[in-house]
């Protein structure tokens, strides 16, 4: 395969979104409000991890430097990760976890749906599979946002606060500035900004049904796609990468 470094960077960023989001969801196992929710968040995280593995492996092939999925996941430092800052931030509040999952899965659903028509056959196949899984994630997040937003006064206030907290970070999902113009012109990728309108409309419709006011918080300075992350990613990577780095090649 001829190296395609521009497309490799695009695929790597999507892989990092799924990988880091999955790692944050894994934190909830044994901490969710009910057992079924532990299981649900573990399953959603597992789906995202599976998507991340395929995307990482594909990014490695496109890059042409001989790096496999494990090398990309475990042996890159923080500045080489290209995920949006939205997914890396600590989410130890269940409302925040559901608000974020609503935003991420709504975006991934639109993204993977469009990428299923990518001119890159491998990327199209990964996306066509992922979109069916993400439909379940989106449905799960939506149900919780409706239930909490349109629930008690207390749960409503928590859901509103959670969405207000996440809102500044979603704008980065629609940023084109990190992609070379020639990559954007290819039929292999989906221009991030083209998803802004449909994704926001879909999220806002859920918020309306959940009686949550549309957040008005302005966008945060979020430059994860350029490798500039919040302080919280380093701690996540330290935990995620520790075993592979301390015991290279470990298997069981």
């Amino acid at each position: 395969m001829t190296a395609q470094p521009g497309l490799a960077r695009y695929v790597l960023a999507l892989a990092d979104d799924a990988l880091i989001s999955s790692q944050r969801l894994g934190w909830w196992i044994s901490r969710a409000p009910q057992l079924e929710e532990d299981v649900a968040l573990a399953n959603i995280g597992l789906d995202q991890l599976g998507q991340a593995r395929q995307l990482l492996a594909h990014a490695g092939r496109l890059e042409g430097l001989g790096r496999d999925e494990d090398q990309l996941a475990y042996f890159r430092d923080e500045r080489d990760f290209r995920n949006v800052c939205l997914v890396e931030r600590v989410q130890d509040d269940f409302g925040v976890a559901m608000a974020r999952l609503l935003c991420v899965s709504t975006w991934q659903h639109a993204l993977y749906g469009a990428l299923a028509g990518s001119t890159d056959a491998d990327l199209a196949a990964i996306a066509a599979k992922a979109v069916k899984e993400v439909a379940y994630h989106l449905d799960h997040a939506r149900n919780w946002v409706l239930r909490l937003g349109d629930g008690t006064e207390f749960s409503h206030a928590r859901m509103q606060a959670a969405l207000d907290a996440e809102w500044p970070w979603i704008e980065e999902l629609f940023d084109d500035s990190w992609l070379e113009p020639e990559v954007l012109e290819q039929g292999a990728v989906v221009r991030p900004s083209s998803l802004r309108e449909p994704v926001l409309a879909r999220v806002l419709e859920v918020l309306r049904q959940a009686t949550v006011a549309p957040p008005e918080s302005p966008p945060a300075v979020s430059r994860g796609r350029h490798g500039l992350h919040t302080e919280q990613l380093g701690y996540l990577l330290a935990e995620m990468q520790h075993l592979a780095r301390s015991h290279p090649g470990a298997t069981w």
Partner: protein, 169 residues
């Protein structure tokens, strides 16, 4: 649908590969599940087996690969190459009729015959899922996500038993 190739050794290699059980649901073979996509033998006698994951993160794929190599070597195929394919994406529609019956007998409600989800629409749930224990339709979903990626948790209002449902994808 995939059907078994009709010629000689190729056919035999398929039936050997098709006997491999799913590690999570051992009553089903990978053929019942629609995970086994193709088995071919090239000029040099190497057997190529194509399998596709049910879910992107399905942890059973590695085990299935090992089991395939194991069972084919014991059947005399020394050179076996297991390939993962993603397209077309697996769907519960590929589960065979006999697979659905075995699943129900095992106590897991099989998926509806046609995936209601399509590729891009919202998740729609079937009107009801029949309890594999007592056959009642008075059942409710207690969790969309279950013990494995492919199952949801249900409970029966008649016999009060909880059960797994292989969800549509």
């Amino acid at each position: 649908m995939v059907s078994a190739p009709a010629t000689g050794r190729r056919c035999r290699a398929w039936s050997v590969a098709a006997s491999v059980p799913d590690p999570e649901l051992p009553v089903l073979t990978i053929e019942d599940l629609g995970v086994l996509r193709d088995v071919t033998e090239d000029d040099r006698g190497r057997v190529h087996v194509q399998i596709t994951p049910t879910y992107s993160g399905c942890p059973a794929m590695e085990t299935i690969r090992t089991d395939l190599i194991d069972v084919l070597s014991r059947a005399g195929y020394r050179d076996v190459c297991v390939e993962f394919v993603l397209a077309p994406a697996w769907t519960t529609d590929w589960m065979t009729q006999s697979g659905r019956q075995k699943l129900a007998a095992y106590g897991v409600a099989p998926p509806a015959a046609r995936s209601p989800m399509g590729n891009t629409g919202p998740v729609s749930v079937p009107l009801s899922v029949r309890c594999p224990q007592c056959g009642s339709l008075d059942t409710r979903e207690s969790s969309r996500f279950g013990s494995t990626a492919c199952k949801s948790l249900w409970v029966c209002g008649s016999c009060r038993e909880p059960f797994d449902h292989f969800k549509e994808l």
